[in-house]
């Protein structure tokens, strides 16, 4: 049956006017994949416009495209060989339509990169090569087109082949084949050309059947990002698409990043399934119910317990930028990774690369449209993901600037230690603290969450915010950091001193820890007892730590907790 046939998606990319649409048009024409009506229509249009018949018109459906002879937007067309069905994706070659090229290429499993034999390798040939490597498309044939214009010269073909190979090698793209063709004349498209006896390889039509399809997504660790939770009837169904791996009824599952463990109770179908196959696998859009009904929300990852995804808030990424304005620091973007959405900003721009030369742009402090870059991103909350090399589907993301998807990228690694905090500073000594963070009860999550204040260093004499939305400290108080043995004095709302805890003397002012929780001390003696108790803690386990904290600290003395709706929480700005 036809529905069991394999489908392969191929994108055709390359520089403007190197013949992408013509090649596809010719391929469709030669394989008789185009309805008569369409060919007749294109012939009529060509005649009307007083132009010769163009195979490209079969794809360039927009009036503007046909009039100007360019491809503006990507198209997908289908055709078949004896072996399998193909979706062939045409991508525009103009630099200004790069976002359309990327939209087309991101859907592909394999690529044909076209180079004009006469013009040779051009700017977009290289940029498109780079984009293919960033998209993780490894199955690439380079098509050297318009061989008729160079008299089918083997020497010139070999020069282009050599140059392209050098460039692509540096991107870790290794073309599987080079094929010399004339798309317009049909040489080496659907049939072997008689014009190039020196070429012993296949025609394009034969060659594409040799692309091997990637399988094995179901053999990777389970990644099931929650898309939505439904309660249409008495079932509470967790719905989503399995990105990789397999899932069975009864499996023990871990929900990240909240780290909850439960089991799959049922797998849900409509209409109710009669056969006994209860294994879900990569690619399926599914619904399950679980044994313990926690609060679940979109974006959380379901995995098996021993194979959890990564979770972090500082990411090293490679990205391409196609926004109207440049990617810059100190601006908020929305990061979308499978079903997660999280506010983020650029922590550092590590390297901006000119994709056409692979040269580093010196001292770049922004990523301009059509540039590619290595960047460190900071998300507001931790997100779940995998490194791209381990799992493509959960290792890539897009960035939204305002209303527009403006960039795409892949995660190359994690940086945990880059988190910036507020501190009280004197000379070289800094006491890191979270006293000015706020605590809210998030109503939709039924949980208390801490909202970080904007990181800031307070110097001697600087005013500090002694009153926030959810805390109110006295005008004068001390902050002690037991771990790093430091103390800071705040007097009349200004930072007065930062000293070693060994030199610290209690003088009757309120004492707080670095979280802003009140220490239960009323004398110098108490302070020393507190430090001694803390010294005995090391390595004695979490239970004792909690007992110690409850003995010595009063969370609510200067603090308060306020209600907040979830959406409000997501939009919270820094507090200072």
């Amino acid at each position: 049956m036809d529905d069991l046939r394999e489908v392969l998606k191929i994108v055709v990319v390359g520089h403007v006017d190197h013949g992408k649409s013509t090649l596809i048009g010719r391929l469709l024409y030669d394989t008789k994949s185009i309805p008569e009506g369409r060919i007749e229509r294109v012939k009529a249009i060509s005649k009307e416009k007083g132009k010769p018949f163009e195979y490209a018109y079969l794809l360039d459906a927009f009036e503007e495209e046909q009039k100007q002879g360019i491809t503006i937007d990507t198209t997908q067309l289908q055709f078949k060989t004896d072996k399998r069905d193909y979706v062939i994706i045409d991508a525009p070659g103009h630099k200004e339509f790069l976002k359309n090229m990327i939209s087309g290429a991101a859907n592909a499993e394999a690529a044909l990169l076209i180079v004009d034999a006469n013009e040779g390798i051009q700017e977009q040939s290289r940029r498109h090569g780079y984009i293919l490597s960033l998209l993780g498309i490894q199955k690439v044939y380079v098509i050297v087109n318009k061989m008729d214009l160079i008299g089918y010269s083997e020497g010139k073909y070999n020069d282009i082949k050599h140059e392209m190979n050098q460039f692509l090698k540096s991107l870790n793209v290794f073309p599987l084949k080079y094929i010399p063709v004339s798309a317009f004349l049909g040489e080496n498209i659907a049939r072997k050309s008689g014009e190039m006896p020196w070429y012993r390889g296949e025609s394009i039509l034969e060659a594409i059947d040799l692309f091997e399809k990637d399988n094995g997504l179901e053999d990777k660790p389970l990644r099931f990002p929650i898309q939505d939770v439904y309660k249409f009837d008495n079932r509470r169904i967790i719905a989503g698409r399995i990105e990789s791996g397999k899932l069975r009824e009864g499996d023990e599952i871990l929900i990240s990043p909240s780290n909850k463990v439960t089991r799959v109770k049922t797998i849900e179908y409509w209409p109710v399934k009669k056969d006994g196959n209860n294994t879900l696998e990569a690619g399926m859009s599914v619904g399950i119910t679980v044994e313990d009904e926690f609060f679940n929300k979109r974006g959380e990852f379901i995995s098996h317990k021993d194979k959890a995804p990564l979770s972090a808030d500082v990411l090293r990424v490679n990205l391409f930028w196609m926004g109207k304005s440049s990617l810059v620091k100190n601006r908020k973007y929305k990061l979308k990774l499978v079903t997660q959405e999280e506010e983020c900003e650029v922590l550092s721009i590590n390297r901006v690369i000119d994709a056409t030369t692979l040269e580093t742009i010196e001292n770049a402090n922004e990523v301009r449209t059509n540039d590619v870059a290595e960047v460190t991103l900071k998300t507001k909350d931790r997100i779940c993901f995998d490194e791209f090399r381990n799992n493509q589907g959960t290792g890539r993301f897009v960035l939204v600037d305002g209303y527009d998807v403006s960039g795409g990228g892949i995660i190359s690694g994690v940086e945990e230690s880059r988190k910036t905090v507020s501190s009280f500073v004197k000379n070289e000594t800094g006491l890191n603290m979270n006293c000015f963070d706020e605590y809210f009860y998030i109503m939709t999550q039924n949980a208390v969450r801490r909202v970080e204040s904007r990181p800031k260093n307070f110097g001697i004499g600087d005013t500090v915010p002694v009153e926030g939305d959810t805390y109110a400290y006295p005008e004068s108080f001390d902050v002690i950091d037991l771990k790093n043995k430091l103390a800071a004095r705040i007097r009349k709302s200004r930072l007065n001193d930062v000293v070693s805890l060994d030199d610290y003397k209690y003088d009757g002012s309120a004492v707080l820890n670095t979280q802003g929780f009140a220490a239960k001390v009323t004398s110098q003696e108490d302070c020393e007892k507190l430090q001694k108790d803390f010294g005995r803690l090391s390595g004695s386990g979490e239970d004792k730590e909690a007992a110690f904290a409850n003995k010595w600290f009063d969370i609510m003395k200067y603090r308060n907790i306020k209600h907040k709706a979830d959406s409000e929480f997501n939009n919270t700005e820094y507090q200072i």
């Binding site: 309805p35 997908q76 939209s103």
Partner: protein, 266 residues
């Protein structure tokens, strides 16, 4: 997973994204084979429920059997159905004799726009497919329309890795296309496999059948002896005629569909 399983899973993913993202969501139901498959997929995506209303823009020129079938199915499936007519234009005597494209614009495009405005839809699900026609082959899965339903097709947003356009100014809406990646044979194979009830206008009577359904005055039948779904699939495998060849409005101008669709046509 076979080919149809993959198509189905992708469509369900798209439908669930639309339902999650848009507060006001509706599905256009034209009674034809594609939107009937869409209805089936919605029931699958939401485990037997249809959590949004269905919309039929009724030109009053539809083939009578379509309306009868519509009302019967709406009852059977317990669909929340919105039927809308552009009464103003009809009162003024709008019909195909005023010009096919003028009529399509008034009774379908403007009619649809009236529904969007009246119900303040943020998302509209439509059953169009890339293989139907050129301007549809260039579509996005989530495709933005401005407050006048216009489509800025020369400046479409990037769409990659199933991250769709879900941020847009208030007043605009998103056309959601869950069947964009299906072709005509896929549709019939799926109807056959899933045993989906389908209007019998598609099956041949007296050597003729409808291949695409629309308004009676502008929709022609094709020569055919296909009386079963398998017959239809076999017929389509050999055909060289395009699916919408029987739709008269498409033939009015070389760029008829592009022009209609720019203004908000389906």
């Amino acid at each position: 997973m076979d080919h149809l399983d993959q198509l189905e899973a992708q469509s369900i993913f798209i439908l669930r994204e639309a339902y999650k993202k848009f507060g006001k969501l509706g599905m256009l139901w034209s009674i034809g084979k594609d939107s009937t498959v869409l209805l089936w997929l919605a029931k699958k995506a939401f485990f037997g429920h249809c959590p949004f209303p269905f919309i039929h823009v009724d030109t009053t020129y539809k083939i009578p059997e379509m309306i009868e079938y519509r009302d019967r199915m709406a009852k059977e499936y317990k669909i929340d159905l919105i039927v809308h007519k552009n009464e103003e234009a009809l009162k003024e005597g709008m019909g195909p004799e005023k010009g096919r494209l003028v009529c399509c614009k008034a009774l379908k495009t403007d009619g649809l726009q009236q529904v969007v405005t009246k119900y303040e839809f943020e998302g509209l699900i439509l059953g169009i497919r890339r293989d139907e026609e050129g301007s549809r082959s260039k579509e996005r899965v989530f495709s933005e329309r401005n407050k006048d339903s216009e489509w800025d097709y020369t400046n479409q947003p990037p769409e990659l890795w199933d991250q769709f356009k879900t941020d847009f100014p208030k007043g605009n809406h998103i056309r959601v296309h869950p069947l964009l990646h299906w072709n005509e044979i896929d549709i019939w194979s799926y109807i056959g496999r899933e045993n989906i009830p389908i209007i019998d206008l598609y099956f041949a009577k007296d050597g003729k059948r409808y291949r695409s359904l629309g308004c009676a005055p502008c929709t022609g039948k094709i020569e055919s002896n296909a009386t079963t779904i398998d017959d239809i699939i076999n017929e389509l495998k050999d055909t060289k005629v395009s699916e919408r060849a029987g739709r008269a409005q498409d033939q009015e101008d070389a760029y008829a569909m592009q022009k209609l669709r720019k203004d908000g046509y389906m």
